[in-house]
Amino acid sequence: MDEFDLERIVDRELKRLPVPRAPRSFAPRVMAAVAASRPAAWYARPWLMWPVWMQAMSVIALAGLAAGGWTLWNQAPGLAQRANQMAAVSRAFWNVLFGPIAMVVLALTIVVTLACAAAWTAVSRVTFGGASSQ
C-alpha cells in the first residue's frame, strides 16, 4: 500500500467517526466558572477601568477637594489663631479637672489589669491542669 492509499483509507475511516460529545456535567461546570469569573464591582477595579460617568464624578470630587483645600490655605492665619484658643481652653480643663487624678487612674488601671491576668492564669491552671502553658 502506498502513502496515498494509506492517507485515503485513514482519512475515510477518521471522517466516519462520530463526534465525541461533551459530558453532561460540562455545561453546568462552565456556567459555574462563568458566574465565578464575573468582573468585580467598579470601585474594586483600577480607576482606568471605572465607568466613564464615575471617572467624571471622581474628577469633579477631586477638584472640589482641591478647591476646599485652597480656601482653607487662604484662611490659615485665622484658623491657627482659633486653634490656639481651643488648645488654651483644653489645657485649662485638664489642669483643673483631670490632671490631679490622672496618675491615680493610670496606676489603678495597671493594678486591676495585672490582678485579672493573675486570676485568669490561676483559674486556667486549676481547670486545665496547666495545659494552657503547653
Binding site: L6, V10, L14, L17, R21, P23, M31, V34
Partner: protein
Amino acid sequence: MPDASAFEAFLREYQDMVFATAVRLLGSPAEAEDVAQTVFLRAFERFAEVEPNPGRAGWLKTVTTNLCLNHLTRYRARWQFFSELDGGDGETQRAFVESLAAADPVPADPGWDDRARRLERALRRLPDHQRVPLVLFHFEERSYQEIATLLGVTLGKVKTDIHRGRESLKKALTDRT
C-alpha cells in the same frame, strides 16, 4: 455584561465541537474538559464580538487548537524531543497496539460501533507528536506546511510523524478485524 441565557445557548450549541477538537488533540477527556472550559471563558469575555460573528465556529476551533498546543507544550514533554527518541521501529508499534487493551477512555455512546470505538481509542493513544499533526491534517484540514509552521518543526518531520500515526491506526484497525 453578556446575557447568561444567550451564552448558555451558545455554549450548548458548540460544546461538542470544542470538546471533540480538544479531546482528539490532547487524547485525554479530563484535560480536554479543562481546555474547553478555558475556551468558553474566553468566548464569554468577548461574547459581544463573538456571538454575532458568522465565523464564530472557526474562531472557537482556532482558540481550541492554540490552547491545546499551549497545554501540550507546557504540561507535557515536548513532542519534538520524544519524536527524536522514538525510532518508529516495530517495537514501538507493538507496544502501542498492546497498550490499546488497557482501560477504554472512549465513552460508550450508542452511536459508536466497535470499529469506531477501536479507531477513536487508537487515535487517543497515539503519542502526542503523531496524534497532533494527524488530527490537524485529517480533522482540521490543515496542510502539511501549515502544521509544520504551527508546531515549529520541519516539513519532513510532520510527514514522518503523520505517516507513523496512520500506520499505527491501520494496524489497530486490521489487527482485530
